[in-house]
């Protein structure tokens, strides 16, 4: 065959090239993502709720997300306390407000930076209920059954742990756990129970939903679940 008609096996080169690019991306994907993320987050501002806004993904464990009804909703605080409570949404709103900007890390690898939370520190809720001497941990129960998780009281009183009611300036939306969720930035997101309906004060930390499936109880970012 004449030189200018030369046949070349480009098909396999394309295949192997794309494959190699994909496999090596385990090495370069984080760097590329840092370069691309200003673009994608600008895009998601435009596309609103159609795409994962600012990088949020919504994980649920059940058939449908709990529905929040402001008139009937309440947060139960019970267990080893002097005064068991049922806090209405308006009561929760009347407690001293805290603000923070923190980073949200999911154990599956995605991160959302500069999340603006507003809510209530757990100290105020514990002050109302009055934990007994034997109290050591808090069990957070979601109305998305059977989701629950727990923190030691010491962890729950870290300075940027809060019961969040607002996200980025608006009340929590249904996918984000309306009306109240736990936020603990130094741990992976599965500790941050959404659609919170009950805080039980307990002596020993019970096993949470994901902990039952092999995840670490102390979910420190970069220092648990196989990371760090």
């Amino acid at each position: 065959m004449a030189g200018d008609r030369l046949e070349r096996r480009y098909g396999r080169r394309v295949f192997l090239g794309v494959l190699a690019g994909g496999l090596t991306s385990f090495a370069w994907a984080p760097a590329a993502s840092r370069v691309l993320s200003p673009l994608t987050s600008a895009g998601s501002q435009l596309l609103g709720n159609v795409f994962p806004v600012g990088g949020w993904r919504i994980y649920t464990i059940s058939g449908s997300m709990p529905v929040f009804d402001r008139d009937t909703w309440s947060l139960t605080v019970d267990g080893l306390v002097e005064r068991p409570l049922k806090l209405s949404y308006d009561h929760l709103r009347s407690l001293p407000e805290a603000h923070q900007v923190s980073t949200f890390h999911c154990v599956t690898g995605w991160t959302v930076h500069n999340v603006r939370w507003r809510g209530v520190r757990l100290q105020h809720i514990l002050d109302l209920a009055g934990p007994l001497q034997s109290a050591h941990a808090l069990r957070f129960v979601s109305s998305e059954h059977p989701y629950e998780d727990s923190l030691t009281i010491k962890q729950a009183l870290l300075p940027d742990v809060m019961l969040a009611l607002d996200l980025d300036g608006s009340p929590l939306s249904r996918p984000h756990g309306a009306p109240a969720r736990l936020v603990i930035p130094e741990m992976y997101g599965y500790k941050g129970v959404k659609w919170l309906e009950r805080i039980e004060v307990v002596a020993e930390q019970p096993t949470g939903y994901w902990e039952n499936l092999g995840y670490d109880e102390d979910a420190w970012v970069g220092g648990s679940n196989g990371y760090g």
């Binding site: 008609r5 046949e7 295949f15 192997l16 994909g22 949020w56 996918p175 196989g226």
Partner: protein, 214 residues
């Protein structure tokens, strides 16, 4: 009225392989988007069920591909693999947007096929790692979900382009006939794939309904 001459472009095995892949892709895309997009996730709910469908479809996809290759006409698959692999000067000219006669596949179709195959493997690798990582932290890498997402986003764009060329674009949409019924009109093949249609034997009495090139 004289019957139009028809040429066999895809064997039954090739068509089965295509539609197995296409069906699995659509189910995986639909369930994947419902798992990934917040608005859809809220609308659809049922995350555990969707996750199961997603994972089992992926397993069924891999098994079906292997089964079709094992049970099907492998000679036709080898021929197609060769057709996709080899690029000649006409293909290189075509990619530079110079008019050049094309064979059974044009250069764009060859690249699409090679990229699709590589993406399928990358989806399988990252998907398996996501599944394993949920069970064993040894297999958990922060990048995996990012790469799986990128593959999805690029695949969606490629898929929309493929759909446009196969269903809407006037000069290429006749090719869909080749993928559904196997044959294409000889006159169409003469215009778009002359190096292929001219290479076929002029008459094949064994082919039913005047379908040539079986």
């Amino acid at each position: 009225m004289a019957e139009k001459r028809r040429l066999l472009r895809f064997t039954r095995t090739e068509r089965t392989l295509h539609w197995v892949h296409a069906t699995a892709f659509l189910v995986l895309l639909a369930t994947g988007l419902a798992l990934y997009l917040p608005s859809l996730a809220e609308l659809v709910g049922r995350r555990p069920l969707l996750k199961d469908i997603h994972v089992y479809t992926a397993v069924a996809w891999a098994a079906a591909i292997v089964a079709v290759v094992l049970a099907g006409d492998r000679r036709s698959l080898r021929r197609t693999l060769h057709d996709i692999d080899v690029f000649d000067q006409d293909d290189r000219d075509w990619l530079r947007r110079r008019p050049a006669p094309q064979g059974r596949f044009n250069a764009g179709q060859k690249i699409n096929a090679a990229v699709t195959a590589a993406f399928a493997l990358l989806f399988a690798v990252t998907g398996t790692l996501l599944w394993l990582g949920e069970r064993d932290t040894t297999f958990r890498f922060a990048q995996t979900i990012l790469i799986h997402d990128w593959l999805t986003q690029i695949s969606l764009a490629l898929f929309l382009g493929h759909l446009y060329l196969a269903v809407i674009h006037p000069s290429t949409r006749h090719a869909l006939n080749g993928m559904t019924r196997g044959w294409v009109d000889a006159a169409w093949a003469e215009r778009h794939h002359p190096k292929w249609s001219r290479d076929l034997p002029p008459e094949d009495p064994a082919a039913p309904d005047g379908v040539l090139g079986a």
